[in-house]
């Protein structure tokens, strides 16, 4: 009998081994080859040209447009509309009206700051015959010229296929990265250094949306901020950004601080854009929408607006004008640790999750309870059993 049982076991194990071998994946799913050195050189050369050209173009834009903006009367906003056949005066008036009404309702307002919004052709200011740089979408230019602070936005268009409808697409936008500049003026050196390192995006939106992302975390409506894991539990797609974002989402406050202050983590994600932003008067690109936008995708676009709304304009102005590093400025202006505040914000906006392996407490408790119930059931049956 014992030999037969061993035979059975051997047969089962053998069958399992055969099935496992059959189910093994192929040796290679794709044939991987090292990239040709000539191809790597080409990519590097292309990147060099694009970055260098972008710096020249952005310097020229900043030079010419800032001159227009600072020459305008205080309290006004300078516009530059595209001169194209299908852009009508009515369309331009509607586009300008959207920004003008935003400006009229802006409080507080630093009247010294001159503002502008311009549509620029992608080839404007380019060196003829040279590969174009990373010029697309929206950009923010903020600075001081002849002692006058200025901030202007540029939107880029390509070719001549452009009409009033394209203007209307941006007419209801707020002043984006220029909004806080228009309200509080030139930031102190500590905050300016932080903004220039890549923090302009934290002021890109002024609309406060509470709880939206918490809902998204619990429902499968979107894959932008979450994705299913292999075993059904969800985790944030945001955690793919970097280890500090992952750690922050897992509840470590110091990592939240690092994620929004470390220049290496908040610089533009595209190398050429980062180069142009770091080496030209351009302050910031409007980052692409989606999970690639560091550090918290679009969840952090209204981070500064949240701070302003929570602590009030006076405290925010003290923060904005501070010459200290951003975390020191935060603590002295608001009387609160920035890391702790960020963790609260992340928890409220996105929800925290457990990082790393391990059984959830609830799952372990349920398992133990189930085992105890089954053991009790078996004991009762055994105690009532009569033999013979």
């Amino acid at each position: 009998m014992e030999i037969r049982m061993k035979g059975w076991l051997a047969a089962v194990l053998g069958a399992m081994a055969v099935v496992a071998v059959q189910l093994l994946p192929p040796a290679a799913l794709v044939v991987e080859r090292a990239e040709l050195p000539e191809r790597v050189r080409l990519e590097q050369a292309l990147s060099d040209v694009r970055g260098a050209h972008g710096v020249i173009q952005m310097t020229r834009w900043a030079d010419s447009l800032s001159a227009l903006v600072v020459a305008a009367d205080p309290g006004t906003i300078v516009f530059g509309a595209p001169e194209l056949p299908r852009v009508t005066p009515e369309g331009i008036a509607q586009w300008q009206g959207g920004y003008a009404s935003t400006l009229a309702g802006l409080t507080p307002r630093d009247q010294d700051v001159r503002l502008g919004v311009f549509w620029q052709k992608s080839t404007e200011g380019a060196v003829p015959g040279v590969t174009l740089g990373p010029v697309s979408g929206g950009m923010v230019f903020a600075g001081v010229r002849e002692g006058i602070p200025y901030c202007f936005l540029t939107w880029t268009y390509f070719g001549t296929v452009f009409q009033d409808a394209n203007l209307r697409e941006v007419s209801d936008r707020d002043l984006g990265g220029c909004r806080l500049f228009a309200s509080y003026g030139v930031p102190g050196s500590g905050i300016a250094a932080w903004l220039d390192a890549g923090a302009w995006g934290f002021g890109a939106e002024t609309e406060l949306v509470d709880g939206l992302y918490s809902v998204q975390f619990d429902s499968p409506r979107t894959t932008m901020t979450q994705e299913p894991s292999l075993y059904g539990a969800r985790r944030h797609a945001l955690a793919d950004q970097n280890v500090f974002v992952q750690s922050c989402l897992a509840g470590t406050a110091s990592s939240c601080l690092r994620a929004v202050t470390d220049p290496a983590l908040i610089a533009p994600v595209f190398e050429e854009r980062a180069f142009v932003a770091a080496n030209s008067p351009l302050s910031a690109y409007f980052e692409p929408i989606g999970p690639v936008q560091p550090p918290f995708a679009d969840l952090d676009d209204n981070l500064l607006a949240e701070v302003e709304a929570q602590f009030g304009a006076d405290s925010f102005e003290r923060f904005w004008k501070s010459n200290e590093t951003v975390e020191v400025a935060f603590a002295s202006a608001f009387g609160m640790d920035m890391a702790a505040w960020l963790l609260d914000m992340v928890e409220e906006e996105a929800g925290l999750y457990r990082a790393g392996p391990g059984v959830q407490f609830g799952d372990a408790a349920l398992s133990v309870l189930a085992l105890m119930a089954l053991a009790a059931f078996a004991s009762v049956v055994a105690m009532r059993r009569r033999v013979g």
């Binding site: 192929p26 191809r39 050189r41 080409l42 292309l46 903020a142 980062a274 008067p281």
Partner: protein, 380 residues
């Protein structure tokens, strides 16, 4: 990023952002930067030429290293390249696909300029497509090189071949033509698959179509006035249709027209009805692209000899006109026949309760059988 010299020049030139100095003082340095840029562009030109030459040399090397015994077979209009040991399998698959799905295709320029590289590999690909030296004006190599891991059975293999053939044939409709826009880029699905995607796409028009309403089919497929029965479509669906039609590359409606603005920007549904009704046909209606593809191939089968050639000749016409010309039937009759044919191919598949129940029963019986056998632990 960039050379150290280049960075040094530019950082000196512009020096930061909020403390940036802009204006005439920077211009002499800009001249220097432009000279640097032109030098970089010249380097880029050299790098481009070097990359092209190296890529071509690598292709030749790869082909030379990948010499394997292959066979080139002509199966109907298909030229098929396969490893010698898989030649018969390739011929069998392509013959099956040709006879059952594409037998009415003649004179396809896309097929005449294509070679299909076929391989069904188990552990690692042989890259049969890389056994021929590519020529500048030679045929396009279309690869059907699939793993048995992902394509385990012959049905799935046949489906891969069908998809490759359809993606080649689609090239007969030029980019920007009405038929190309209307068909989209969906795979070729068998009838059961087309039924399934139509049935599971939530839309009143799709449901009415499956229930036998021919005008609803025309509207769901986007080949007729989709606003004729407004209740079939939600406002959002009509806005989506119009949103595609106003794109610059479509150019079928003007975004600044008052009705278009009212529909897209002010959510006025009556304006949507007026504009969408004027379009006549729409690129993106509620029926998925694979269902439109199924209708086209149904029309081609009905049309018989020369049907594909007639479709290609009229690639830029209204899709309804093309379908009529291809099938030789009035649109109503064609859609009625297609709907009946599609519903007939409804998959006879139900939720897996029966299979699961049988599995549970089987294992219960097996374990019960073991339990009833004598064991040495039995107490009596």
């Amino acid at each position: 990023m960039g050379s150290a010299l280049w960075s040094a020049v530019l950082v000196t030139c512009v020096a930061g952002r909020l403390d940036a100095q802009v204006g005439p003082a920077t211009r002499p340095m800009e001249e220097e930067a432009i000279q640097q840029l032109l030098a970089l562009e010249a380097e880029l030109d050299l790098a481009r030429a070097g990359s092209v030459a190296a890529t071509y040399a690598a292709v030749l090397e790869r082909v030379e290293a990948n010499r394997k015994p292959t066979v080139l077979r002509q199966v109907g209009p298909f030229e098929v390249l396969a490893l010698v040991e898989q030649g018969d399998l390739a011929e069998e698959m392509f013959t099956d696909v040709w006879r059952n799905d594409f037998s009415s295709v003649t004179g396809s320029p896309a097929l005449e300029s294509s070679t299909f590289a076929f391989e069904w590999w188990r552990t690692a690909p042989s890259e049969v497509g890389w056994t021929l030296t590519p020529a500048v004006d030679g045929p396009t190599m279309r690869r059907v090189e699939v793993s048995r891991l992902y394509v385990p059975g012959r049905d799935r293999l046949r489906s891969s071949v069908t998809t490759a053939v359809w993606s080649a044939l689609r090239g007969d409709f030029p980019d920007g033509s009405s038929m190309r826009d209307w068909l989209g880029y969906a795979d070729y699905l068998p009838g059961a698959g087309a039924y399934r995607v139509l049935a599971v796409t939530p839309s009143a028009a799709n449901r009415a179509c499956l229930a036998g309403d021919t005008p609803a089919c025309a509207a769901a497929l986007g080949v007729a006035d989709v606003a004729a029965q407004p209740e079939w479509f939600t406002r959002e669906e009509k806005q989506r249709m119009l949103g595609v039609a106003v794109q610059p590359w479509m150019g079928r409606a003007d975004r600044d027209e008052p009705d278009v603005r009212a529909c897209l920007e002010e959510n006025v549904e009556s304006a949507c009805d007026r504009v969408v009704g004027r379009l006549g046909w729409v690129e993106m209606s509620t029926a998925p692209s694979s269902v439109k593809t199924h209708l086209l191939w149904y029309a081609i089968r009905v049309g018989g000899d020369g049907a594909w050639a007639r479709a290609v000749e009229r690639a830029d016409a209204n899709p309804a006109e093309v379908l009529v010309a291809v099938s030789g039937q009035p649109l109503d009759q064609l859609l009625r026949g297609w709907q009946v044919d599609l519903v007939r191919q409804r998959p006879d598949v139900h939720a897996g309760l029966a299979g699961g129940g049988l599995t549970v029963l089987f294992w219960s019986l097996v374990l019960a059988g073991f339990a009833m056998r004598s064991t040495r632990w039995r107490s009596a």
